[in-house]
């Protein structure tokens, strides 16, 4: 990393500011998801019983599996940055591709999870769901919005990492300049942290 800082004397670049910019963006993400967590907290407080009943219908096994996938993808992302720091471009690309594979795995699980729910008539506006207690309707509404927005972040993250892989292959991201990869990594880890909270709040409140 030291060489990265020294490069500033040759090329006008400020990696610390770049990372700080990324962090500031992540704080706006905190506001976006934070608002939804507030909503969840208040509705759960007012409909505790219904939330417990509704949560029983979520597949804890898929939830656990997806948690493990996402945590592992965070690991491979972090390792890809170490690899590029150690000037091992091929290993870095391998780890980045592995991260994308995990992201796809997560989304495939999510797809099966959602389609099963929709098949059972549990989706916003469905008659089956609307005939239930209002607390359960709220639970599933929040479930779809929050895991949906999170899923969208997973897709954006995977695309972003894909772009980074291309830049690494081209040599634009290299041992001396990898702040772009770091920023993509920060985004990916944020997605992981959000899931760390979503998982117990939706899957484990039975």
């Amino acid at each position: 990393m030291n060489t990265q800082e020294h490069a500033i004397s040759h090329v006008h670049r400020d990696d610390i500011a770049s990372r700080m910019g990324m962090w500031l963006f992540l704080f706006t993400e905190l506001l976006l998801f934070g608002g939804m967590f507030f909503l969840y907290a208040v509705y759960r407080y007012m409909n505790a019983e219904a939330f417990h009943i509704a949560a029983k219908e979520l597949n804890t096994l898929i939830g656990c599996f997806n948690t493990a996938i996402l945590l592992t993808s965070s690991l491979t992302m972090a390792l890809s940055i170490i690899a590029i720091q150690k000037d091992n471009r091929k290993l870095s690309i391998f780890f980045q591709l592995l991260t994308i594979v995990f992201a796809l795995g997560f989304m495939i699980n999510k797809y099966f999870e959602w389609t099963t729910k929709i098949h059972h008539g549990i989706f916003p506006g469905a008659d089956v769901l609307l005939s239930r207690d209002s607390g359960e309707i709220l639970f599933f509404g929040l479930y779809y919005v929050m895991t949906g927005l999170h899923g969208l972040h997973v897709i954006i993250g995977a695309v972003l990492i894909g772009v980074m892989t291309r830049l690494t292959a081209k040599g634009i991201i290299n041992k001396d300049s990898f702040v772009k990869l770091e920023a993509a990594g920060l985004y990916w880890h944020l997605v992981d942290i959000i899931w760390i909270f979503l998982f117990p709040l939706f899957y484990l409140i039975t």
Partner: protein, 96 residues
Amino acid sequence: MHKDETHQHMHSYGIFILVWLGLLTLTGLTVAVAGINFGALTIATALTIAAIKSYLVLSIFMHLRIEQKVFRIFLVVALFFFIISIVLLFSDYSFK
């Protein structure tokens, strides 16, 4: 502009694997204790474990431990206002 002290302790592969194992263990723990009913403490336990996991991700995976101090200050300020918001929200709803 020498910032040698900032990244002096570049992480090795080992610590990441270790943190990853820790995160998986904590996930197992949170699933295991979810079945036990601690009453009001159940949600507190789940959130505490989630907070520990987030701390690990933030400090190691997101390099906050080896970043400049100003990054940590930023995060603390952001979280401070986040917590203030939720405390005020619940102080409102609890007395309705």
